[in-house]
Amino acid sequence: MTPAREAGGDRGAPAREAGGDRGAPAREAGGDRGAPAREAGADQGSVLSVVGLRAGVPEREILEGIDLELRSGEVHAVMGPNGSGKSTLAHVLMGRPGIRVTAGGVSLDGIDLLALPTWKRAQAGLFLLPQYPTEVPGVSLDDALGEALTAAGRDRAEVPELVAAEASRIGFDPRFLDRPLNVDLSGGEKKRNETVQLGVLGPRFAVLDEVDSGLDIDALRAVARRIEAATTESNLGVLAITHYTRLLHVLRADAVHVLVRGSIVASGGPELAEELEQTGYAPYGVDERGT
């Protein structure tokens, strides 16, 4: 057994079995990724648990009962056609204003995330890499991360060095680091910028909302590799929400869930993503327009 699995086992729910329940083989943990997993005991592993979650906008329900359990170090892909509720799922976890939860719950190691404001969810260890990162004119990356670290009781003086190291890892041109957040950045630069933030903040779980949209293959590879590395280096758990499979060629999923019209209609291992690549969503009663 690898240390990662032991970590899961310590909590009485081995990662392999968790994956197996869904009919998806658990990854061969850290070793398979060519990097040693974090030592068991140093990190007991965390669980992000979504149970019976129903949510939407005031006019209509979009998510009609979602169940997911994601453990540290695991990558779960949620795949679905346009309009299936993927972005709603990403943002309801983070607590976006305007999304209303009507039933169910979300917890991180037993902490009720839905009871927390967005910033405390982030402080609890949740990170959202949004499909369209918001431009914040006049606000620098360093200042935003400095406030986040200060609120976490960390030393904001670390920020420049951490940012420089993360930027260098993913080949993000340092001259972009001085720009206001996401202002005048291309799609790929924005996603690299987000990935730098993920690396500096070091969350327990990252939700990637269509991270592969709007960026070139080089940027996609750099971003996906960094996140993949985080799953072993810092035992990051990843919920990768995506329409296409190309992300999963670099960031390999332990489990794949198919989201259609607000419900998870199938779950399986990585082979499910390959099936979807062949068949599209038609077998799930979705036509090409995604309806």
């Binding site: 004119p137 935003a144 986040a148």
Partner: protein
């Protein structure tokens, strides 16, 4: 401090010092003032203002012959905040109190002093040449003008540090009429920082600033308005920009109770350009009121305006601006942008952009926004673990950041940023 005991009478005006031409100008202006009524909010340029609340009889003109001498610590602090300087002129209650100018600049013919002392004869031609008398307050300001601050930079002189002019209000219940005349000669370069500040007094200030930028000259003007919260200001800044000349004017307004600034910039020579910027932030019951005119009166002229402000508590702000492209000003470009952040439910901002174009071959644009802090921006920052109060501080700081970075005096930028932060976080 002097206790004002006089009203706005001909006798009071006649008691003010100066040569015969000045006495005559005062008398004529007073006669015109008395002949015209004070403006009301019914007039378009006073719409949304608080002018109907003004009770002129609550104030008395300050007519003491001598200004208090010596520099109060507060004045020194205000002047020093501007950083390295070429010279300093302090006017108290509209009267000369202190003047210093680097020797090498005096030798080059640079003037920094009182108009009536430095240029007693030609003053008649300089005074009012750019401003004219567009409304009753400018007439009143001329009728009770004590001394005018006079800045002259002769042709082909380049200043490496700004000249600083401080207007300090001392007198409770006083009405003061600070006047600043800036002449930048042909092909010269100069920076002027003007500070309007006061003790914690109730007062009325009706400043008039005249900026005359000669052909191919370059003037950077920074106005810092940090009057006390019980001071009413009705200010007028007029500029004339010559051929191939360039004016960069930046106003930072944080003070005052009701503080109005009318800014008229006339592009009088071909190829001239003017950049007008303002940053303002009102709290409590403050009101900031800006009226602007970008007046293109020559071919191929350019004007670019950016006014950004915030209001919180019960504060109000008005921006009303007009781009006028006169017949003959072909090939001109004019841009006008006003952005407002409304930070409290009880606060309010009005924005009224306007265009008046008499030429075809021109490029004009205007944009204005009024709204609260962007919810998406706040959510994004919160999603990184930034608490809401810190997120708001970042967003508001960022909102002002781009304009403050354009303030002509780099040494003042950090202080303005701090002032914005303090204003945001004060109770």
């Amino acid at each position: 401090m002097t206790t004002p005991s006089t009203e706005f009478t001909a006798d009071a005006a006649a008691a003010l010092p100066g040569p015969a031409w000045m006495q005559q100008r005062r008398a004529d202006a007073l006669a015109r003032f008395e002949a015209r009524a004070l403006p009301t909010e019914a007039e378009e340029v006073w719409r949304y203002s608080r002018i109907d609340e003004l009770d002129l009889s609550a104030y008395r003109p300050v007519v003491a012959r001598e200004a208090p001498t010596g520099l109060p610590a507060a004045v020194t602090a205000v002047a020093d905040a501007a950083g390295p300087r070429s010279g300093l002129l302090v006017m108290r209650d509209g009267r000369l109190s202190h003047a210093e100018l680097r020797d090498d600049l005096s030798a080059k013919g640079v003037v920094l002093g009182s108009l009536l002392q430095a240029a007693p004869d030609e003053g008649a031609e300089v005074l009012g040449a750019v401003a004219g008398a567009p409304d009753a307050f400018v007439e009143l300001a001329t009728a009770f003008l004590g001394e005018a601050a006079f800045v002259r930079v002769p042709s082909k002189v380049e200043l490496d540090a700004p000249l600083v002019v401080v207007h300090w209000l001392d007198t409770d219940g006083g009405a003061v009429f600070p006047r600043t005349l800036v002449q930048v000669g042909e092909s010269s370069q100069a920076g002027v920082i003007e500070v309007a500040a006061s003790d914690d007094v109730a007062g009325l200030a009706a400043p008039v600033v005249e900026l005359d930028v000669g052909d191919a000259a370059n003037l950077a003007y920074l106005g810092l308005q940090q009057l006390g919260s019980r001071v009413w200001q009705v200010a007028y800044q007029a500029s004339r920009v010559g051929r191939d000349a360039s004016l960069r004017s930046f106003t930072a307004a944080l003070g005052g109770g009701y503080a109005r600034l009318r800014t008229d910039s006339r592009l009088a020579g071909q190829g001239g350009s003017t950049q007008l910027m303002a940053a303002f932030f009102g709290a409590g019951d403050q009101m900031h009121d800006f009226r602007t005119l970008q007046d293109h009166d020559a071919p191929r002229t350019t004007s670019d305006l950016l006014f950004k402000g915030a209001v919180r508590d019960r504060a109000r702000s008005v921006y009303s601006g007009l781009i006028r492209i006169r017949h003959g000003a072909h090939g001109s470009n004019a841009f006008q942008t006003n952005r407002n952040l409304v930070l409290s439910e009880g606060a309010h901002a009005d924005s009224v952009p306007n265009l008046e174009i008499e030429e075809n071959d021109v490029r004009c644009s205007h944009a204005s926004t009024v709204g609260p802090i962007d919810e998406e921006q706040r959510y994004y920052l919160e999603s990184r673990g930034v608490p809401p109060a810190a997120a708001d501080r970042l967003i508001v700081g960022g909102f002002f950041g781009d304009i403050l970075d354009r303030a002509p005096a780099p040494g003042v930028r950090a202080r303005l940023r701090q002032a914005v932060n303090d204003r945001l976080e004060s109770d």
